[in-house]
Amino acid sequence: MVRLPYSTALTTLFSYGLLFAFGHLRDFFRRIIDSRKPTTNLKDYAPICLGHEDFYTRRLFNRVQDCCNRPIASAPDAWIDVIERYSNDGNKTIHRTSKTSRCLNLGSYNYLGFAAADEYCTPRVIESLKKYSASTCSVRVDGGNTKLHIELEELVARFVGKPAAILLGMGYATNSTIIPALIGKGGLIISDSLNHNSIVNGARGSGAAVRVFQHNNIAHLEEVLREQIAQGQPRTHRPWNKIIVIVEGIYSMEGELCKLPEVISVCKKYKAYTYLDEAHSIGAIGKSGRGVCDLLGVDPADVDIMMGTFTKSFGSCGGYIAASKEIIHHLKQTCPAHIYATSMSPPAVQQVISAIKVILGEDGTNRGAKKLAQIRENSNFFRSELKKMGFEVLGDNDSPVMPIMLYNPAKIPSFSRECLRLNVAAVVVAFPATPLLLSRARICISASHTREDLIKGLEVLSKAGDVSGIKYFPVEQEKTTAVEKLKKIQ
């Protein structure tokens, strides 16, 4: 059951109904007009796409596709150059101009500010580019295993608190190729209902049975575990080979943390393995940046497999799995992305090594600790100010991801375009990444945002929010002058 205010549900359903009706009306007339055109020379071939299959893409998504796929022309730092585009036919085709506009970047996963040039990381990355060149041109097991890769695996294992780690070239591929290597037919995967598509893909590709438990609902997880252990495999009722419970550290569409201590205790009670996907939380939360285990006080030895990506907090690309030596040894021999995919690019590896060293303070300065304190402060400030303005903001405190609820399909492009007009680049998400009625704008805060940047962002979001009418909660009266007061302090 999806939770939202009843009147908002009615208006949103009505809007979707109207869009649907107009889409069908346009399709109807298009079919009449196109029936007079000559048929193509591909007679007797089956159509690539049946007319009704891409209805959603053609009639709903294409109308607002200028809010997606915006090309950028600079590094995704706190400020970003967005290329201006125009369309002459109602967003069916969009053309780039040669002008760019400098916008405040509230959309990139740049949690610690490593996405742009950094005084410690960038010289070392350029050095490694000169020494190792841009690609290893080989797979890890052939000729692509450089000294940097081994150093990074050891460093990641030490950072996360596990005995060993394995690196892979892409975060999505990490989940979708490691899960099939860990579990197969006869096993059971229990995954949170809001898990990322890469986990869903990996779970489906593994051949194991998949059950879903309600998001962050520990009682339901226990119920599912008890039922499945009692029933066993379908039809034969033999016991399951193994049971893996998959949760994420921070859920990127909700900005919420998972209830890790409770999940671990339930899994220990029923002897199930735990797989923690820390794509958004590693490096961004916790006192020393070690992710959700650090923040919630969970011993990393209690989580069986910890997965993470380097795209978000470390400014690079790729993913890792950290686990016991035996599991990593097994994965290195069975995971297809390790054996057949090209290894990570050496400058990207060096970027992660340098970024982790900065976070740990091993570069000789305390910039890492300052960045971690900065992002925590920035996130809490921004979230509390947004709530005071009356926006409906999801997510827990300390989480740098904050979705702002939009609900209505018309508010999605309105909010996005208004923000872009006022030079703020914000990301909006709609169906099918979120449930149909729960579209949202997702703000990602970075440690490289200064207080002035955040205040400017708040002003623009407030104006765009007024234009789109998304301030669903009452404004806190005595604090409405908070923004002006803050400006005076500056």
């Binding site: 059951m1 999806v2 939770r3 939202l4 009843y6 549900a9 009615l10 359903l13 009505f14 109904g17 796409c49 049946l50 009704h52 299959e53 891409d54 209805f55 959603y56 893409t57 099918p432 449930p435 149909l436 009625l437």
Partner: protein, 136 residues
């Protein structure tokens, strides 16, 4: 699954009745008959004629099933299905009552509700009469 779907449906019917009344300036009974017939045409086309889904992601898995058959994963007589069977019947009763059971309206309304209710019965699941609408 989503709150407010039934209410939106009923409100759309009610507001379209008001719209028909204001545009055509006819008696309330004729307006209800017009709403009933449009409702018949639209819901028949979308629930029992069109097949497949508006998304390409499922790779045509449901291309042989109408939307009525896909609802609730093919489970019969769920709450949603019962509600959607009741709505045309209630509309029929309102239309007949407001037109005082007069002749041309009586026949058209009865035809509409007859076709709709028969199409929604559990025994008609995946049935294609005379092979009409059987191709994917």
């Amino acid at each position: 699954m989503y709150p407010g779907v039934w209410t939106t449906y009923i409100l759309i019917l009610f507001f379209s009745w008001l719209l028909v009344l204001s545009v055509f300036g006819c008696t309330p009974g004729t307006a209800w008959t017009v709403v009933n017939l449009f409702h018949f045409a639209i819901t028949y086309h979308f629930f029992h004629w069109k097949k497949g889904t508006p998304f390409a992601d499922d790779q045509g898995m449901y291309n042989g099933l109408t939307w009525w058959e896909q609802m609730d994963n093919g489970k019969q007589l769920t709450r949603n299905r019962k509600f959607l069977i009741v709505v045309p019947v209630v509309l029929y009763l309102i239309a007949l009552h407001t037109t005082d059971y007069q002749q041309p309206m009586l026949f058209l309304n009865t035809l509409a509700v007859g076709v709709l209710v028969v199409a929604k019965l559990p025994n008609m699941h995946k049935v294609r009469i005379f092979g009409i609408n059987a191709e994917n």
